[in-house]
Symmetry: C2
DNA sequence: CCCATTCGGTCACCAGTGTCACAAAGAGAC
DNA sequence: GTCTCTTTGTGACACTGGTGACCGAATGGG
């Protein structure tokens, strides 16, 4: 994690060297605000105004959609090198977020003020290419989310979810409650407990209080 | 519908006057290939190579997602002035479509070769702004689709679907079969018939062979 | 007009998932 | 250790939506 300027400059350099031109990286060091955010922080919420766009250096962010009654569902995870395309709406007038973003682990990122990002769109081709690519990736992740909802049953969705978590957390033991899982999948705790138990009986994982240890994934 | 050059130039002009600069419009007339496509034509399919990006002048296009077994689900409709953001992937290397696009009514559009669109991205700020806006709209439509799948039950989804169709077709009588509706909503014909019948009993619509006449919407 | 095909209506039944209720097992505070 | 709160396990049940079967009505080709 980057505590001082030299650190995050280095990190950004290795992360974005092949993507953003050197000149733009220098601009990034001038105008970007580095941040370190602990796990579980809500970075953005529905209806909130977005005056800056995050660039992810390290960690992971969970992107969720909420319905009017406050129910939520997980859309996808952002990992380092990603950016939040939805907040890119900032570059085009749509200033209100329609999603919620929560850090999934301790995370370091750079905030780029909307006005700065907007001007880069005109000045740096590599920036607008990066933004476009980010949009494209996000669109594909949304399609994956739609596939899951439309075509997959709960047991399958749960398995996918657990695999994703293992990948994101880099740990085969997930420190989470059944209720949390139920929220992400937009189902009920009872159902999750039931399915997890059945997976345990199949030997796929083992269950503990506040923890799920994955054997296969 | 535009049969000759003068027609479609005029149409494109009125449609995109405020969005694309005059100079770019002239380029469009040089490099764009105008097309008229009858209702029900498959413009693009999953896995197909995309070497051009469509710009919609008139009509409507249905965008669907398919799963490996061939089941499909409606994502959203494109209307005139829209463009297919997913095919914009062309501008960035992803050359394979992950969706299916079928004309929902007789449609006129302009195809822009990928290479041309790509060069405009660098030359015309109004073009890259248009492409970005298109991405943003499509993202929000995908979010709406996710909301429907995650948070709404079938009766509600059906009502939304019927309303959308009325709006898109500009006709309160929908000429379609229950099976077609079932395909779009990714459910079964029997279920659709059941729900439609119940809506008819509520006086919301009346049913006929190959037609649904909407009273309220 | 007759036949084949498509479309819509309906019934009985089933599978998947959500809900309610309650008990038991950790875990932390004191 | 005791108390309390959180988490998990589980049984019984309700509900939504999917399936298979079958029939009759409408339509269109010949």
């Amino acid at each position: 994690m980057s505590a001082n300027p030299i650190d995050w400059h280095q990190q950004a350099r290795t992360r974005f060297a092949g993507i953003l031109e050197a000149e733009l990286l220098e601009e990034l060091f001038v105008h970007g605000h580095p941040m370190r955010v602990p796990e579980g922080t809500m970075l953005m919420d529905v209806g909130q105004h977005m005056d800056a766009v995050p660039l992810l250096l390290e960690g992971a962010i969970k992107i969720m959609r909420l319905d009017p009654e406050g129910d939520e569902i997980l859309l996808y995870f952002l990992e380092s090198g990603d950016s939040c395309a939805l907040s890119m709406g900032t570059y085009m007038g749509a200033a209100k977020s329609s999603i919620r973003a929560v850090t999934e682990r301790d995370t370091s990122l750079v905030m780029i003020p909307a006005a700065v990002g907007q001007s880069w769109m005109r000045t740096y081709p590599s920036w607008s290419a990066f933004v476009m690519e980010s949009y494209q990736s996000r669109l594909e992740e949304m399609l994956t989310a739609i596939d899951a909802l439309a075509f997959m049953d709960l047991p399958t969705r749960l398995k996918r979810y657990l695999s994703d978590k293992v990948k994101i957390q880099g740990d085969t033991t997930l420190h989470t409650t059944h209720q949390d899982i139920a929220n992400d999948l937009h189902t009920s705790r009872v159902v999750v407990s039931r399915l997890l138990k059945s997976l345990e009986r199949q030997g796929v994982l083992s269950l503990h209080r506040n923890a799920v240890h994955m054997h296969e994934f």
